[in-house]
Subunit: 325 residues, 2 copies
Amino acid sequence: MKRKLAIGVDIGATTIKAGVVEFNVHAGKADLLSQRKVDTLALNGPDSVKRQLFSVVNELLSEFKNDEFAGIGIGTPGIVSLDGSIVKNPPNFADWKEINLRKIVNDEYKLPVVIENDANVAALGEAKFGAGIGQKDFLFVIWGTGVGGGIILDGKIYRGPHGGAGEIGHTTIDYKGHLCNCGNRGCIESYIGQRYLSERSRLKLQQMPENTPPSKIIELVHGNLDLIEPYIISVAAEQGDSFAKEILSEAGNLLGVSIASIFNVLDLRLAIIGGGISAAGEYVFDEIGKSVQGRVLKSTKPDVRIIPAELGNTAGMLGTASLVM
Amino acid sequence: MKRKLAIGVDIGATTIKAGVVEFNVHAGKADLLSQRKVDTLALNGPDSVKRQLFSVVNELLSEFKNDEFAGIGIGTPGIVSLDGSIVKNPPNFADWKEINLRKIVNDEYKLPVVIENDANVAALGEAKFGAGIGQKDFLFVIWGTGVGGGIILDGKIYRGPHGGAGEIGHTTIDYKGHLCNCGNRGCIESYIGQRYLSERSRLKLQQMPENTPPSKIIELVHGNLDLIEPYIISVAAEQGDSFAKEILSEAGNLLGVSIASIFNVLDLRLAIIGGGISAAGEYVFDEIGKSVQGRVLKSTKPDVRIIPAELGNTAGMLGTASLVM
């Protein structure tokens, strides 16, 4: 019997990841047989992105030249048209606007192609092969540069009537709060997105009284506070640094505000948290959990669960490959 | 040809409304042929509520004794089990807990019975016969004593995995904000629900400088500020009172914060606002609309629409009757 293979591609603003995925339908399992990575070159325009995309797919197809492929699934930033063809205005991609990426890839490889939003396919990957196995309804949160998300309802991606659902980073936690990039005030992203967290840590460290024992963060960035990023904060926290822990706990607490609102509106109980910061250790999840539990409606409280994603940055490839199977 | 009739019942904390509804399937129309109202007597316990419910249904059945009925649809407060039978903990109903209302009514009348949450059936009523005709996806908000809601996705009620969806009153607009009845801080309900709005108006009026021209509200409550309620504020606003308008505009602006968050998460563009305050005049809707438009993601802004519900307090009866057709 032939193997069931598909190619899963995860286009990010900086790198394109692509993998060959083998599905074992009976076991409900997916294996990543091989994976490649290239720079996206998103700022060089769509032609450049197309060339980079073809180059990784070509490499994989020649590595598996004796196999047949069910198709190519592609996760991308931006809004994807409901029919899974057109990618609209992916942020940080130069000169993109609206491009029928499905047609471009299908013309090149004569294989079925499905395009889907990157957060949505990561959510689907976790649902099918990761932390969400056996869970029909949950909120998936990607906490990294920004705060994104996907909503899984009854085992399927909830895309919304225009394909734009899941923007949990732009739920307001304080209507008089910080100005967000999106133009709104008080979006959770403007409190816990990468830039904000780093900036906040830098300022707090600069304002520390002289006799405070120095945070591990300062050592990790060799004294250059401009190098602080959430990953550094989480490494320091892992090493027991109390300042770093406090920063992340505060952030977890705030993320819980948004999650609780969404739980109340959608009647959900489970959130799976992925993205860079999900490596930050158990206490962040505890903090988010405490916050959500403290805020949701009473009948929901006992069932609230906040857990880390399991697939890391392979969730997108696995999720998107599963769409063509 | 026989008429297509159903009974729609709307159980509220203070009154039970019931009506005979005729459906014209081809015209997509529903007519309320007759309606009755009794006190719910919710504080006297479930037996009392049952007796009151039977009394109105009996009256309607004897008025239409030559007709056949497709069934009885019942909207109630509280969470309704996903199979449409058990009503769980309706607020302000004494000794209720969990009761299989479907069985009770079905045993009595030997007719098909469907139970559904009151906000959900009102949303469905507006979707099928009111302001939501032709709209497949929208948020329905009931703004009155509290702030409730229903979500219509793809023409159907989104009930959530446990039947509890739509609690938009308990979305947080300020994580450090007012303490809400639910135990959370900063829920929109704790800013614009009946009690809060009335209280806020009273305090503001008491603190007004002596030489300010008096608000119409004072006249409408004959000087007794304890009698202020949202209806009074909206009457004063209708009469051009600038203080009343300001109170309602502020409230509309805050409601917009919650709606915008939900629009971003669910990719919605339309909100239909019902409940007591929806009689308050166009400027409240303008205010909500401005707030939502200012806050949602850019691609959504041009399509945002905030409109009043059309069916008033018949939405529940029509929506719930439609469930048995």
